[in-house]
Symmetry: C2
Subunit: 603 residues, 2 copies
């Protein structure tokens, strides 16, 4: 019953618009780090990745979803397609695209890498997962590893010969990394022996490369409790001894049957059952979480990208479906001798499509801006710019992680809804993308944790310096929008909303300083939602400005249609979402206490 | 890894509160139709159903989800447990509980039947599905069938010997019943020969009873186009000839692989491939949709109940999990030598639980009120009361169908989220309930269709008479709340919100009369959302009043905790949801045109 049709995954027109019209990504090439690059070199990566995503990766999505990894005789066997898919992704240069030439990379902006990756994620989230995890592990070793670790582990990870994982979570600890119990005992050779159990280890075993390196949190014997006693270790599944690899006492203890990302195994791993699990310290003892958190922004941007991409591919599918599926006639037409109309003619279907567009393209814009701040934070030549970019990056990251995860799930549900009864069947793909999406509000810090991070740390950091920087950015955007002739009420609404958000932050920060931390943080999830609405409004205003500029320039009908669509989506966001800001602010400000005072036995 | 624990499905304390404290369900026994009944006879049905749901039905949920029906040799084989499960549900008397003694029933109020059914739905939605469909088909035959159809088909359906279906949807028509194409040709014996194809026929075949009767929409040869040419037929899978059943040329052409309700097959059926498919007219020719729509309110209430029940069982599970799962410590506590706290101690987890409670118990309250109006509409002795109740029933039905479906999906997602990574695995049940839930916004009229129904028909019917009746009901509730000492601001907010809704309805109705039907209906989904918030606020105010009355009465600590929880949930609704009403009204009133003017090629 399935009606296969080519799915663009993401709109190329939109991606180019976002990179080169709404943003000015080529401006990054003025930085010394990126001086070898240009729109042409960006295009080399983008074009090859897009083609691979569409032609090679996308067709493997359903087969991998339908045949998840198998756990047999202590080993995990993943989908056989993964061997060539992984090699293909490595060949695209994506493992090292943002890394410097010293480690074999091209030193491209993260912004460009992000948007290229988005195509792979949209095509096959699980397949990309192996690459993303490997990249994160290798990057940790690049920054914090000893020469031995860099030469032995990092190099092979970056070359695609091995894969990597993040082994943080334990069954008894979940999100609470302060409660990690895995132990590391110093050995005479300078390495450590690890013992403990980890859970939800994505890509924790596979059979398409020779080895897997687990970046593992553990406590050195005698270390203090809490987060400061936690260190980071590189623990390979097989350890190098001379020229061979020998088993390193890492056992797969079980496979978790995930409801999505079904091409990527999620495992329970036991370290050191035979007390022969060798690990190597990464960074300083007791600095394990600090090391992880240095990478956290990029990891969370990656989750946000996963979410945007999963929402994007479903949006594209439901858009194509709505254009070709005839059913009924628009409101007011009762003549049933008239042929049925494509469902895109129904106002409510267009509502569902425009809401998806607003979420997907607004989310992508947010992620690209955040990535650009990461590029500046890493590579701006002057420290003041780096510092300012870092503040913005820190502020935007929990939003860029959460907004696409939460609203993306809603967006994916709308894509399913547009397909009606067909959407409810596994003959069509929207249900699979909906399943994939649900993980993004859970992994790399749940939505609740992101809210605490935003309000408790990022927004109040350095006396609100990040908000000050955001205010400057927003004013630059409203000035641009004004010059381009964008509806002035939108700019006013955005400035007003940001002012409300800033005033609210100061107020809540003061309550925290006064010892009322629980009141301050009570509505941190609402606070995060509020900031998400504002941040996405900012990115929609920038897109509206670019669209107006484009309309003034173009005589091409297709371009005109594209820009008009951008303006309609911006209008939607300002009409439907921005007016929610005062309500959310009111909840945060008053500390509305319904669930705070709700005792566990009252439910 | 699964942690099985008894799940109460629904809270008995809450159900009793809803029936006998928030509502006065025993008052229905004053009606002649229910004069044989009392709280005791209600309890007989409720207690036996609850026990069956918990002890027999719930344990079959996961096995049936894991082993969906198989299509082989032209027949569907369902889970083997269904034979005894179906017999068990029939033995509870649920097929005929609301029907009069003439057809073997007890003539209980629908309100009581609804809440009893909710336990079965919460335990195993698919298993209940066979019963619900059979009940609907039998009821249609009872009301519109000839003596032959009642004696032959209806009686066997009500006795549980056969099952029934609703065969409405066709592949090319979906929601657009005006475009039904199945043909019915008169035969000399007074019956008809049917030819056509139907899709998404739930329970369209099974192997645990001898026969299935399809209540089928088709067009008598020569009938006019559109809805007025559609008639209703009873089409059995096997037709009675003398003392035997012979195949009736109904072919199962395919099974749809649904993502939820996996114990209940959804089929493609072909009628009359060999031109030997006999059907019998039900009701008048050309009145097929009218017949169906007479049953539609009850069918849609059933969908709302499905949705509430599916949200309820997940809420109960996540509540139990949050009480027992230790992880981290509440905001402000940094002492990691302190044992980890149950996650219910975290404010954001309590937010997710209270939001679920507000949706689940608010939704159940709405469904029971709506059912009570159905009881009055069917059985009040005087016509004025019946008519008023019918208006209210019509008004409330699209809300009672949609609110639990849409917000219930959100609620189910929160239940999964509370389980963290475990929630994302199929070792735990929240993911299965989330899948089940998604159908409820699609079947029996999508959310978009319910919005059109509410604004285009129900709210504006008879010059707004239904809104007038709702206003009287709301004022009775605010008076009760006032007397009980409920926070007066809530009553004021509710009255104000309803006034806004009423004024908006009149305004939009006037635009429709002026020929601007598209503008009137543009935001009908927002209009439905607005009315949902108001209707649920009404039911939360009634619950708050009952809770205050209870608090004044009780000295029992458990009761006190229960009532305090009700007040906190009511507070939540008035603080978080009711303030959205002006925003939604503004969208509807201004006819915000972002998606209306969005052309198909602008996306």
């Amino acid at each position: 019953m399935s009606v296969p049709r080519p799915n663009p995954l993401l709109s190329d027109r939109d991606v180019d618009f976002q990179l080169y019209e709404a943003l000015d990504t080529t401006a990054l090439c003025a930085l010394p780090a990126f001086q070898e690059h240009s729109r042409d070199t960006f295009a080399l990566l983008l074009d090859s990745t897009r083609r691979f995503a569409r032609e090679v990766l996308a067709p493997t999505y359903r087969p991998m979803d339908a045949a998840p990894p198998v756990f047999e005789h202590g080993r995990v066997r993943v989908h056989p397609a993964m061997r060539s898919l992984y090699a293909g992704m490595v060949d695209l240069g994506l493992l090292t695209a943002t890394r410097p030439p010293e480690v074999g990379g091209q030193q491209l902006p993260l912004t460009v890498h992000a948007v290229a990756s988005a195509y792979l994620m949209a095509a096959n989230l699980s397949a990309y997962g192996y690459l993303g995890l490997t990249l994160g592990a290798a990057h940790l070793l690049e920054v914090f590893g000893t020469r031995f670790l860099r030469d032995t582990f990092m190099a092979r990870l970056y070359r695609g010969e091995w894969t990597g994982t993040m082994a943080l979570t334990e069954p008894q600890a979940g999100s609470s990394l302060a409660d990690v119990k895995t132990r590391a005992t110093p050995a005479p050779d300078g390495s450590y022996r690890l013992q403990g159990s980890k859970i939800f280890i994505s890509g924790g075993d596979q059979d398409f490369t020779d080895n897997v390196v687990h970046l593992t949190l553990a406590r050195i014997e005698g270390a203090e409790g809490g987060t400061r006693g936690v260190s980071l270790f590189a623990v390979p599944a097989k350890r190098p001894e001379g020229d061979t690899l020998v088993p390193n006492d890492v056992q797969v203890a079980g496979v978790i049957h995930k409801i999505g990302w079904r091409g990527l195994p999620s495992l329970v791993l036991n370290f050191g059952e035979a007390n022969d699990c060798h690990g190597w310290l990464v960074g300083q003892p007791g600095r394990g979480l600090a090391c992880m958190f240095q990478m956290m922004n990029e990891a969370r941007i990656m989750v946000g990208l996963n979410a945007v991409s999963t929402a994007a591919v479903a949006y594209q599918e439901s858009l194509a479906y709505a254009r070709e599926r005839p059913q009924g006639r628009p409101a007011g037409i009762r003549d049933t001798t008239r042929a049925q109309s494509p469902i895109i003619e129904h106002a409510d279907v267009r509502r569902m499509l425009l809401r998806q567009k607003a979420i997907v393209e607004g989310g992508l814009a947010l992620l690209l801006t955040t990535s650009t701040q990461a590029d500046l934070a890493n590579h701006a030549p002057d420290e003041a710019t780096r510092k300012r970019a870092h503040l913005l990056l820190d502020l935007l990251t929990p939003i860029a992680k959460t907004f696409p995860a939460e609203r993306g799930f809603e967006s994916n549900a709308l894509a399913l809804q547009i397909h009606g009864g067909y959407g409810y069947s596994s003959e069509y793909l929207p249900e699979a993308w909906l399943r994939d999406q649900k993980l993004n509000s859970i992994h790399e810090g749940t939505t609740g944790i992101q809210g605490l991070d935003l309000l408790g740390r990022k927004a109040v950091a350095e006396g609100g310096a990040a908000l000050q920087a955001l205010d400057e950015e927003v004013r630059a955007t409203t000035a641009r929008a004004h010059a381009a002739g964008v509806e002035p009420a939108w700019s006013d609404a955005l400035e007003d909303a940001l002012q409300q958000a800033t005033a609210l932050t100061l107020e809540l920060g003061a309550r925290g300083m006064a010892g009322e931390v629980d009141v301050m943080l009570r509505h941190s999830t609402d606070f995060l939602e509020l900031f998400s609405v504002v941040a996405v409004a900012w990115r929609w205003l920038a897109q509206a400005a670019a669209a107006k500029e484009g309309l003034a320039r173009t005589t091409n009908a297709e371009d005109t249609a594209f820009y008009e669509g951008k303006l309609a989506a911006a209008q939607y966001w300002f009409a439907v979402e921005v007016p929610r800001v005062p309500l959310l602010a009111h909840l945060c400000r008053t500390g509305e206490d319904s669930y705070a005072r709700m005792r566990p036995d009252w439910f």
